[in-house]
Amino acid sequence: MNIWNISLQNIKSKPLYTFLSVFIASLSIALLLGTQQLKRSFENQIENNLGKIDVVVGAKGSPLQLVLASVLHLDNPTGNISYKEALKISKNPLIKSAVPISYGDNYKGYRIVGTTHEYPTLYSAELQKGHRVENAMEVILGNSVAQKLNLKIGDTLLSAHGLVENSIEVHDLLLTVVGILKPTQKVIDRLILTNLESIWNLHDHEGHNDIKSIDEKEITSLLIRFKSPRGLLTFPRRINERTNMQAALPKYELHKLYEYTSVGFKTISLIAYLILVISCITLFISLYKMVKERAFDLAILRTYGASNFQLIKMVFYEGFIVVFSSFLLGFLLLKIGLRFALYFMKSNNQQNILTALSFQDVLQIAMLILIMVIISVSFAIYPIIKMDVSKILSNEK
């Protein structure tokens, strides 16, 4: 028997109040942790998917669209650029690597991207099985593509025109799977990679039958990595001013995007904090009520030799037990809630990779909750400090 034990028994003896307090508190904790985790995951996804790309060069248009289309593969491209022009700017001495990409087809909603062997290195992606694309009409698959579509090496697929799944405009040239990449948790996981020739072949075949000369060949964009950050200063401006192409900085554009979306996160966080305040009040009420209702019990404990401080400790423990179980339940709710949310939102093009909450994030929220217990308890113990044992005992009838 100790003070913890008495607190525990006290809590057990009022299950409805306890349930209510724990429920509300755990809800707000789950919401707080959840928004934090989603925010972190979102930031992390963006950060991850930038890979090693410093600048994207593509057709003129919205720079954000260009980044979304060519880096995150979420939007349609702004247009095409001349392959010859692209090769020309690739020779700039500031550039460490320039990876051309060309896309416009999909297989069951997964984009088919024509590129070079350098593309996987931007995301540090390595082959899990098979070999690189050596010839036209060979493809390697991102890990999620292989998983979701259950494709193996040697399988063949027919690409469809456009970036959305459809069965009407299907090309009649077969693509053969020759390799599968290891999972990277990055955008490359949901892409189908081939070489530029394959893409050109597919489209030449559709339109005019003669092979285009290099002057006529087009790509969608060029992903550029500089040798030093110095390139960022002059290169994009030169492209934007002197050519009919544009250079977009993924980091900058995505940061802007993040600024827009953070309003939503802020609102949810605000609601979570509001619920936290409400749960703080609920906790206070339930503790205060306990102190008031059990005035006689507390007075008896004083006659047993308990000091005021020990009674305060008892109330604090009660608050702590409630909040600690709320924290655990909140965590559980979060895990289950996120799983459900992801399950229902799952679409092929969406990436549902959650970043685990850092210890720091959890600690921050835990501290907040601790402060909340301390505040509720300090108000709730007021009657104890003011307690007149003699008066309570003589009013026992």
Binding site: M1, I6, R294, D297, G305, S307, S390, E396, K397
Partner: protein
């Protein structure tokens, strides 16, 4: 042993001043304090328990002056040396019978084994009920639990406030007998305050306020 000198108490400035006769009890002696309602019986009991501070006068329990003890020391002294029996409510509602007795011992340094608890429960006919909630006990059983709680830590003084007023004649006799027995076992002073004249015959020493 217990000794008081010129005790007076006043609840608020301007209200009536209670003054109490001096009491001297040797070890093991019992005392019945009779008086009508409102005469200050409970006030005297709470003064003796150190729950109220007298305006004037001194209280000695086993030669320790209660006035000289401050805050936590007074709480601990009370927890170790005094056992209180109340009229109706006796125990903590959320705990069962056995845990109530454990809780009684929590704040004192008294070394009491679980076996001792079992013995006291058996003496008071509560063995069967030790895992029951307090709310499941009858009034007579509650009163017996109250006695158990007041003696379990081997106190120097047992103070009972109207322990019999809500009991019928039969239970009234039993309770007084149990209280006296328990006091005798630990050689404690038993002081009972009451307006219940039924129990006057049970005590050799009595004063009327």
């Amino acid at each position: 042993m217990i000794q008081t000198e010129n005790l007076t108490y006043q609840y608020k400035k301007g209200t009536a001043i209670f003054s109490f006769p001096n009491i001297t009890l040797e070890k093991g002696e019992n005392l019945l304090i009779l008086g009508a309602s409102g005469i200050g019986k409970t006030t005297l009991l709470h003064l003796l328990a150190g729950l109220l501070k007298p305006v004037t006068g001194k209280i000695y329990i086993n030669e320790v002056a209660l006035n000289s003890l401050k805050n936590n020391k007074l709480d601990t002294f009370r927890g170790e040396n005094i056992g209180l029996v109340f009229q109706k409510k006796h125990a903590i509602q959320s705990l069962n019978v056995f845990d109530n007795l454990k809780a009684r011992l929590l704040f004192s340094n008294a070394l009491v084994t679980d076996k001792k608890i079992e013995i006291v429960l058996a003496q008071l006919g509560l063995s069967e009920l030790k895992r029951n909630k307090v709310s499941e006990l009858s009034e007579g059983q509650l009163q017996r639990l109250g006695i158990a709680l007041s003696v379990i830590h081997n106190p120097q003084v047992i103070l009972a406030d109207e322990p019999t007023s809500s009991l019928d004649d039969k239970n009234c006799k039993i309770v007084i007998k149990l209280l006296k027995n328990q006091a005798k076992q630990t050689n404690a002073n038993l002081i009972v305050i009451t307006h219940d004249h039924r129990i006057k015959a049970c005590f050799q020493n009595s004063i009327t306020l």
